[in-house]
């Protein structure tokens, strides 16, 4: 099938870049949520003491 490699390259580029972006964002969001929980616990400890 002529030009199949170009078709594959275009769709591969789209899916790879989208996937990488989503994974990076999700990891950052989870890390930030963990940090918020830790800071919340730190604040509660200081308020209790």
């Amino acid at each position: 099938m002529e030009n199949l490699s170009y078709l594959f390259a275009a769709y591969a580029a789209v899916w790879v870049l989208l996937f990488v972006y989503v994974v990076v964002l999700s990891r950052r969001n989870r890390a930030l949520e963990r940090e918020i929980d830790e800071l919340r616990q730190l604040l509660q400890r200081h308020q209790a003491s």
Partner: protein
């Protein structure tokens, strides 16, 4: 994340994912190949929606930037920054998929055609916007300068859109040809393109939502750090 935010994420993410999977089915199974260009024409079903969503993203940047300059609230600034980042991703994909399509059809990866050149300019403008946001750090002044750039940069969008009519260009005018008709003759092609628009719109909304959550969480972390420091000093 609050329960409402989780609910929104639980609705948007599967919708976007399902939409994209169905789009793939329509592009590779449902729609017939173009008689003139063959299978490489199927790149178009992602390339065109990516371009339209790029315009939407930078339009959101411009509107949110205006609102931020007017009202000064972090909500609008976060939305502008989030839309700009997603818009850059989509614009990058436009500039990748376009040349991949062009190579077998035009015999060249790139030409300084009006539409390609103005799209590249758009990419450079918003790359500068994101660099400005990164370099300036937190605080209103950098955000204000970036907002002005975001508003000015949006001027390029109608120029890109009209470029195939204003200048002599080899870029296809597909949705509305120079003669005024649609460039797609087969109803299955029209349906596939229409569905891809919907799928990419859902994807765009979800990505902006996730990126905006990221910005909101960063603001929350910064606020709590300040609170902890204040508590230490007190």
């Amino acid at each position: 994340m609050s329960s409402n935010r989780r609910l929104i994420d639980l609705i948007l993410a599967p919708l976007a994912g399902l939409g994209m999977l169905l789009a793939i089915y329509m592009v590779f199974i449902y729609v017939p190949s173009d008689q003139a260009q063959g299978i490489v024409q199927r790149i178009f079903y992602f390339h065109v929606p990516l371009a339209i969503m790029t315009f939407l993203a930078f339009g959101v940047v411009a509107v949110a930037s205006v609102m931020f300059l007017w009202q000064g609230t972090r909500f609008w600034d976060r939305l502008a920054h989030s839309a700009a980042e997603v818009g850059m991703l989509f614009c990058t994909l436009v500039l990748i998929t376009g040349p991949i399509w062009a190579r077998p059809v035009w015999g060249t990866w790139w030409t300084w055609d009006a539409r390609l050149t103005t799209t590249l300019i758009l990419w450079l403008i918003y790359a500068a916007y994101l660099m400005m946001r990164t370099v300036s750090g937190p605080g209103d002044q950098g955000a204000r300068y970036a907002a002005i750039l975001g508003i000015v940069g949006a001027v390029d969008i109608p120029i890109i859109n009209r470029s195939v009519y204003w200048w002599r260009t080899i870029h296809p005018a597909v949705l509305v040809t120079r003669e005024g008709s649609s460039g797609l003759n087969d109803p299955r092609m029209q349906a596939t393109l229409g569905f891809c628009f919907v799928a990419f719109f859902l994807l765009f909304v979800w990505l902006v939502w996730v990126r905006n959550e990221n910005a909101r969480l960063r603001d929350a972390v910064e606020g709590m750090r300040q609170h902890v420091l204040t508590g230490h000093e007190a």
